[in-house]
């Protein structure tokens, strides 16, 4: 399987009046053609900022350093027309809250067709036809009438489907879905995940699924990457990772999951403590203060992200199931 996106040593810092925040810290990640990778972490783990950095969509006070190559082309630091040619066309991103991510002042049709006009040079009628076809593909009924509606007239689930359609119209090679189900009801979440599954089957797009919800990852992803405090702490095939997590944080996350197959008598194990303040430089392992098996050197040295086997890696001195 060939590599389509390769991130190496990516570090993203934000300059705030209270100091510098290292949102992403020395991250290496590889995405293969057609693969679906889940990126899991709590709020503040840097999972969204990582991919915003790749696409150059950081806020004004953010700076990304390192490398992110798409098919060999360096994206970090890319500007202007070069960048715009790739965005939406080769790498597409969909965002968490479709109500704020869609423009409330433009019709759905307008927001869909402009992708086609800009990237494929299509004229109005052909763009309309393709937009309708795509809306139907993501299971939006009465598609041609929907083109004239405004986002606030649609339900949450439909808005997210419009976002997915909008991203796919560019015919991208990579789709980055940033918490696509977080803002939706549980039942709607399942529908969106179905849509994503179909999309994956039909278009074979390499997908990155960013989420804090492990359950979402299980059904959809081939591989999982776990992030904490801006760093990657574990990576592996989804089944293996779930059945035998190597990093204490992953173990804690899985342990904290409410499960339907237990008798409900055990306690939900919350992870004690708080994620670290990213304004201070972190010495050693970021998870050490909350880690049940931490030892002396965990506080002094940052554990390297080391391979544990084929397709398995973790950043922990005491890694192992």
């Amino acid at each position: 399987m060939s590599v389509i996106l390769e991130i190496a040593g990516l570090t993203t810092r934000f300059t705030t009046p209270d100091g510098e925040v290292a949102a992403v810290s020395d991250v290496d990640l590889v995405l293969g053609e057609g693969e679906t990778v889940g990126v899991v972490g709590e709020s503040g783990s840097g999972k969204s900022q990582l991919f915003l950095s790749v696409l150059g969509l950081l806020a004004r006070n953010g700076q990304a350093r390192g490398s992110a190559r798409f098919r060999g082309q360096e994206l970090i630091g890319l500007q202007g027309r070069e960048l715009r040619r790739l965005r939406g066309r080769r790498l597409a991103m969909i965002f968490q809250d479709p109500m704020t991510a869609l423009n409330p002042h433009l019709t759905v049709g307008r927001q869909l067709t402009e992708v086609l006009a800009v990237h494929h040079g299509l004229g109005a009628s052909e763009a309309r036809a393709r937009a309708i076809a795509m809306l139907e593909r993501v299971r939006i009924p009465d598609a041609s009438r929907r083109l004239g509606t405004y986002p606030h007239e649609l339900s949450g689930g439909m808005r997210q489907r419009v976002m997915i359609a909008m991203a796919l119209l560019g015919e991208p090679d990579v789709l980055i879905a940033d918490e696509p189900t977080t803002a939706l009801d549980v039942t709607v979440q399942a529908q969106i995940l179905d849509v994503l599954r179909e999309v994956k089957a039909e278009f074979g797009v390499a997908t990155v699924l960013i989420t804090h919800d492990l359950g979402v990852v299980a059904g959809l992803c081939d591989r999982v990457v776990v992030m904490y405090a801006g760093r990657i702490v574990e990576e592996g095939q989804v089944d293996l990772l779930f059945s035998a997590p190597a990093h204490p944080y992953t173990r804690a996350l899985l342990g904290a999951l409410p499960r339907v197959d237990t008798d409900g008598s055990g306690e939900l194990v919350a992870i004690p403590g708080q994620p670290p303040n990213l304004q201070r430089a972190i010495r050693g392992c970021a998870f050490a203060p909350r880690c049940p098996v931490a030892e002396g050197r965990c506080g002094a040295e940052r554990p390297p992200f080391a391979a544990l086997g084929p397709g398995r890696a973790a950043a922990c001195f005491k890694a192992g199931p």
């Binding site: 209270d18 403590g273 303040n277 430089a281 203060p289 049940p292 098996v293 030892e295 002396g296 965990c298």
Partner: protein, 298 residues
Amino acid sequence: MAEARLETGDLLATRPAGRGLWADAWARLRRNRAAVGSAILLGAIALASIVGPEVAPHGYDAISWDQVGVAPDLAGGYYFGTDDNGRDMFARTLFAGRVSLTIGLAATLVSLAIGVAWGAAAGYLGGRVDAAMMRFVDILYAMPFLFFVILLMVYFGRDPLLMFVALGAVSWLDMARIVRGQTLSLKRREFIEAAVAAGTRRRAIITRHIVPNCLGPVIVYATLTVPQIILLESFLSFLGLGVQEPMTSWGVLISEGARQVETAWWQLIFPSLFLATTLFCLNFIGDGLRDALDPKDR
């Protein structure tokens, strides 16, 4: 294998010791150089207005027929020149400062009193009373108030008390809206419910929870109301309807100076400078307060 667990205190990069909302806002305000500079400048103007006329070489209403319309003369003690009645512009400008600033402050307090009372009552009582009270505000808001103030001044005489009330009455509407909005959103916040559930008395809820949370926007708007009032008063005085002789305000001086603009520029420039600077400073401070107390608003 159980190793000695690292103490949280050793490694955990702790947050800065929790700063209260006010300390945070104060720190932000201090960083705003424009606001700080404005505060200092404003303080200087206020000080000069209070002390100046007492220590100036000439009295603010002392007439010297041989010094009529004289340009600024440092040696003779007429720092800002004289007006057409031979009175020292320096002392007059500073004295006018006393009047304008006092009116600004006093009328703002009136507007504050009415606005906060109205808004808090409407927000707290809610329901139809609230709707009716705010409808009233909406109607008043759409009226060309300034004209009525002018009419008031014309028909009912130039009583300074009347002017305070009139000016304050014109500006309470915004304050009422703000306070009502704050009260409404506060009523629904969980900590109020928690306080009620814990059995806290209503008066305690109001003083300990509602008032401190309303204080922020109220302070901001009060600071921004003062320049509006000073502007209104100057406007009225400019038309000859505000402050009357022998009292004077910047508006009056500017009105007189405007008439002499071609022959005696100093009569216009100095009061204009003071008025503009004061308004500038107040606006900067108000903006700074707004940014400091509600960073989302930036």
